[in-house]
Symmetry: C2
Subunit: 231 residues, 2 copies
């Protein structure tokens, strides 16, 4: 492990476009980077290989993968025996219902581990690639949720209660469209060929091209006017 | 799995006195019980055997043990290579410092998994044996922390955002002394021989008798005027 900068950040890293761009932004801001990924037995564990490549490419000090099995809790198309929906119709950005790919309290679980690690590392900033525009169906991606988590975090921990560190939940992509996110990452020189988006890879390992995540990816590259290196 | 009552509760269960008493209280209130324990590679994993016995004795519908390795995060005498302190002197209830047995953000991690499971089960009440009197050193046992977690939880989840369920974090032991807790459990007919308290068992598997947790247990039974069935 290399020596970290004094200003440290824990960055949640799934291996998808949003978290990778978030990591690139935190790097550009000069943080010593500690990337945190989760093997929760998600259907699309292929994304963890991408997380590892992204972490390495962006020069993190440490990449920690926590492992647990959310299939035991279930309740989501990503962890239980629920089919990932495929569509050919146009994507709706302002959804009326929360998609079945929602994983109950996932970001709360992820941010809780990030908080624990951040306390040990002395890292005041926790970055998450939450986005309330182009994937607004998830309740735990909204600004009011993130604000509430931050308030809770500062009451939860020894370092905050003792006044030695104040935690900030940073979500720099919150108000960006997928196109703006990809444009931002491209401007920072990030290589999106390292990322993975598909929720339901084909048996040959290629993206399915028709799950929500594939469709948002395609829409984002189209909006950014950039060719998807994975396409 | 038996059929649960309509009114369901997820109860955090470590296998110690406080969580076992909390489970007994939730049972007395008529909830369908879902007990949640964690194998986080704690030094005192012996407590998980107790959790299993307690869950069985109190007739839970399901006992789920989530497994992950908090040694990878460290920062605590219970998970890292830090010695569990032993003392012969009198215990202080109003600590000036947070003990080294504090595990960074542990209750936040535990409550997050509880929230996830509660959402899947449709359980509005999440019970935790947090206590702010006789083990007040931990920041994530204080009422202001629990209130903040509850507020966050109701912004985090699909069922709460859709208005179908409101989560309550229930901490019935919050203001009780250890003696009052044991008296309460005894009044409910709970058998404390099933519980485990010691943080640092001896090589022969017996409680050490001198860690904080052993000392609080002894103090509690003395206050309650009951003989500890494990002593």
């Amino acid at each position: 492990m290399k020596k970290a900068d004094d200003r440290r950040a824990v960055v949640l890293l799934s291996g998808g476009i949003d978290s990778a761009t978030t990591l690139a932004i935190a790097k550009a801001e000069g943080y010593g980077l500690f990337a945190l990924s989760f093997d929760y037995h998600q259907r699309h564990r292929r994304e963890l290989e991408s997380a590892s490549m992204v972490a390495s490419a962006l020069g993190v000090f440490e990449h920690l993968v926590m492992t647990f099995d959310l299939r035991e809790i279930g309740g989501s198309a990503l962890t239980a025996g629920i089919e990932v929906p495929k569509q050919n119709k146009e994507l709706k950005s302002n959804r009326e219902t929360i998609p079945v790919t929602y994983v109950p309290a996932r970001n709360t679980i992820f941010l809780s581990f990030a908080l624990s690690w951040a306390e040990v590392l002395g890292a005041g900033d926790i970055f998450i690639g939450a986005n309330a525009v182009d994937y607004s169906g998830y309740p735990d991606c909204r600004p009011e949720y993130l604000t509430a988590f931050e308030a809770m975090a500062n009451l939860a921990t020894k370092v905050s209660v003792e006044g030695r560190l104040r935690f900030a939940i940073r979500a720099p992509l919150l108000s960006m469209t997928k196109g703006e996110i990809i444009r931002k990452g491209a401007d920072l020189g990030f290589d999106y060929s390292l990322t993975w988006s598909c929720y339901d890879p084909r048996p040959d390992g290629k993206p399915c091209g028709s799950c929500d995540s594939c469709l948002f990816r395609a829409k984002g590259f189209a909006e950014a006017g950039i060719k998807d290196p994975l396409a």
